[in-house]
Symmetry: D2
Subunit: 351 residues, 4 copies
């Protein structure tokens, strides 16, 4: 099947290109009778939108969401919700220089190879702008999860080699990089600005914690909860890896260290990241994603043109020197969609 649909029961289909007329999403399978307003979605869009801080792209998209269907008198009807965002600040002319060259690290080359045609304006469909639809759908899923007492919190734990040393949840939304450690955040912002000043970019790590999920979520053997979360996260453009709980460090652990002992009061540790055998344990679900440095940089790079000729490219445009702060709400959105979908799949199994 075509690849723009995600989820089994709660099912999202996104559309739109960076510099087309609009981007948006259809979310089908929404529980009927739930209160929802555009502002419930808007608040998440505002966390994702460009131009929100000194370390994000200065592109000016107000990202005003409009619900076109599926809601009646303030409540979901169970029919598909279409949420749309019209593009405003399009400057296709700014992309004329990349029309004929492949930017290193970008999907210019692979899209042309795959489709034989490419909308080069602002990366077209490969742009991070596509995630606006995901965040809109995720905001709806979040509303559904709230009724279940489930919370999804994402935050930056590392940027450009600088790691968070502590976790202060209340600080996350108070700093421009959404780091869980306010001191580290200061150093991260400085690092980003320094790299931005020389036209370069940096990567990082974003962690996500899901609280309040019941044990029993996940559909072995292929649609395990961690397998679905992994797919969801790797479907985000800049993400290059994921690990759950102890993750890659488990490779150097012994079984007697890694196994989480149980007692009458619950699990004594959470090396599993809250998922065992592909099914939630009832503990916090914890995973981390590796975020690559933004591909768009204005440092001169060697590349080739669509004609195969070698050249040096300097990417102009309005880009994020580090995508971590804006990827946090996208990670959360995808996690919300996976969780709510699996609650519904679990209901179906026993229903």
């Amino acid at each position: 099947m075509a690849g723009s649909t995600f989820g089994e029961i709660l099912r999202m289909t996104t559309f739109g290109e960076s510099h087309g007329e609009a981007v948006g999403v259809i979310l089908d399978g929404v529980t009927p009778g739930v209160d929802i307003e555009e502002k419930d979605i808007q608040v998440q869009m505002d966390r994702r939108k460009p131009g929100q801080s000194s370390v994000t792209s200065p592109r000016k998209e107000y990202d005003i969401v409009r619900i076109l269907s599926g809601v009646f008198e303030g409540k979901t009807t169970g029919t598909p919700m279409c949420v749309i965002l019209y593009n405003k600040d399009m400057r296709p002319e700014a992309y004329d220089d990349i029309k004929r060259s492949f930017r290193p690290g970008h999907a210019d080359f692979t899209y042309l190879k795959k489709y034989g045609i490419r909308d080069y304006r602002g990366s077209g469909r490969a742009s991070g702008r596509e995630t606006a639809g995901r965040v809109a759908a995720g905001a709806i899923a979040r509303k559904l999860l709230e009724r279940r007492g489930v919370q999804v919190v994402g935050y930056t734990t590392e940027i450009g080699g600088i790691r968070c040393g502590r976790f202060v949840e209340t600080e996350i939304e108070r700093n421009e990089v959404r780091a869980c450690d306010p001191e580290a955040a200061v150093a991260m912002i400085e690092k980003i600005k320094q790299l931005a000043s020389v036209g370069d970019s940096c990567g990082g790590i974003v962690e996500c914690t899901i609280r309040g999920a019941i044990p029993g979520l996940g559909e072995p053997v292929f649609d395990k909860l961690d397998a679905e979360l992994a797919k969801a996260m790797l479907s985000i453009g800049a993400v290059k890896g994921i690990e759950f709980g102890a993750g890659f460090s488990a490779s150097a652990m012994r079984g007697s260290e890694h196994n989480d002992p149980m007692s009458a009061s619950g699990f004594a540790s959470n090396h599993s990241g809250g998922i065992v055998g592909g099914i939630s344990t009832g503990q916090d679900i914890v995973f981390r994603v590796a975020v690559k440095p933004t591909s768009s940089i204005s440092v001169p790079q060697n590349t080739i043109g669509i004609d195969g000729e070698e050249r040096v490219i300097v990417t102009q445009g309005r880009h994020d020197p580090c995508i971590c702060p804006r990827i946090v709400p996208v990670v959360e959105a995808m996690a919300c969609l996976v969780l709510e979908d699996h609650y519904k799949r679990h209901a179906a199994l026993h229903g």
Copy 2:
């Protein structure tokens, strides 16, 4: 939908429990007219089967595959192939002690929470034995990929903290841990045996390289090639993480370092792991998976019974002290299935 099916066009459905009558798989969507014999599948089963070496479980399963359908006069017919393996060496009595307790690190607790019932014999469906069906299906996918000139090679790069220092492809199948470095292999085997002697286990890292894939594979925005590979790998019980190319180390890189420059002779580096924007670049596709230490250990562990009462458990049974050697063919099988499926999806897009 229920979770025992994987793939869109080339579609695998597995069945069977560790100590039931049989395990197996239906693979639907196989290209018709392709030569296939049971021995094409058997050779891969033999790489996965228990008892193959001094560092694997001594359970004696000959794992003789039988093709029940979909092949006529030595050729695939395009109808579903059912491949079955009857279980032989079942000793359910050996599992009587775990009938009433949850083994730490095992899916005992989560399966009971999810289904309200659990087949405790040898972990039932949660057993690694389920992967026998995957390896059978993967062997068929591998045959299809061979016609395209695609090779999939998996190997261990780290076990119990010991890392491979070099890559010698011809050595992989010559050592019992399937490591790509023969000297490291010796140390790894020693480490495993030492841990096994005290009833403990260890984890590791398995890498997989896919050669010869055309550029253009992968279906943005959700069914990206890396997203699908991530789901495939995380659906393997012991896998806790995945990273592509530079992976987690990309978090500390600058864009000017991470971007792979292009020249007339191709890409100058492969930090992307052969996938950009979710689409193959035509380079080698390279990813690594984190393998947790085997949960089944005979070291005494604190746990609770199904009645909630605290107790100490010592897991008996015939287990692998490190699952890396036997997970290699499973990783390869899943990679083969993803690749062949995406070749077919690509054909459908343009077809």
Copy 3:
């Protein structure tokens, strides 16, 4: 999964309610590089829109289509196409009378039972207006089929008991009921007007012929070409039955009559309707759908209110006294989508 998506590879998802802000569709999996313009879609919309003749609903929807994504410089890009139609002539106040009662033959009762909430304005999602999105998607599929030499032609063969006696393809679009027999068309129109004058409605039969399809389309054993067409057609609100080739009359035939003999010049008859064993034979594919009389009538009817109390209802509003003329393009659209999807599935099998 939620039910607003149709197709496996060429995949349509519709959204929108009759009196909401817009109706529309996302079509994903479109072959890239194909010329497409809004007017290619508009021409089909115009065949479906209300107010087009003396025997259709006088609701004034200009149904101007707008392509929001998936097209670049006049060509498809292979990314999802969103096509939208903003609703104009909404008169929700006209539906105040049905807010509290269930109209016989309508989905008022079943939607409320299913969802626990209902958008009563013009039947909401259950309105025939939803099919606008289908016709838009079908117009795109038709463009893809044209390149394959496939033609899809629908026409009315019976209305209110009046049957077509002959088949003159050039006459179909020349009469207001899209009948294949111009004389029968005159009688049909008269019949409709007579029933409309007393506030009643009538049903009919629509036939569809698909020409030029290759043999080999259809995916046994469940996704047979006739099975998929049957689902597609029964998903249209007013359709209550479907038959292929000889159809129900086959029940009274002998095998020696029904079997289509073959000779060097092809099949000698087409009782199969061009599909055998669920796979196209290369002959014309022929099926007929039973269309029920429009439920919305102004004849007084016994019903109950949402409070369960009995009452008499007289449905006001602007309705079609016979839906056949406007269902023809919907039947064609769904047939186009099924055919193109199966071409792509066939390409995937061998690809």
Copy 4:
């Protein structure tokens, strides 16, 4: 996707050819904790098996079912159930004559065109024998539906032009054609025997009534309950049409006749067949399928060989002169699977 899978949440995948080693099914998504025994399935297999009466094929298949997985200590575990039937009475030599010719009305031609290869032994995958797996899965679905108070009853209403004049449910399983009218049954049996004596066959109509289903089942707009039932029924080889409630006769009705009035005591009629807007009303769900005359006849027929040369063929083998009696349990099985799947989808929507 490949076509051997049916259902969204309760998901069946069949495999096997008529003269291969076995036929069978995997049913995934079964509610855990439900009592099931092989005999629950066997009783339905016995209604489908050949050789059960004087008017069915004399092929001797005992059709002994074996559950290979998904059941533990007499209860379903929620993991995939594989049910297998080993083929016994295979006489491939009887099919040597059809190896080189296309039998009229059979899928010989279309399978070869589609796959480029065909298992000609007893029609291979296109054989009615494939439905054994469906009946096994349907028997499990029936067990699940019984817990909901849903009953599914199929019966013959017409054979070879002879129609049932009355409905006596208790008589259905007492006559060899499963007709609902014992007098008509006598005439039908005589008709079949007369045609069989001259090597010919006949068609018929099978009706199915589903009782006790709640209102609210069905997933608009594409996965309507009638749309899914239509697909399910048309996926049965010999079925050429379906109609719900008044069906094709609705085409000659007025709206004021066809609409089912409601009163405080329920609906006054059931022209809708228990489904409105694609959603169950809570009334009996009633549909009829057109069954074509068996294609396998020993009357000489004109056809061509695989070399394209014209010839006369006389099909030998052991065939049913009328498939209605044996198609009844297949119709019921598919209806059970659709209904149970939709109960689970409904649970997911609200879950």
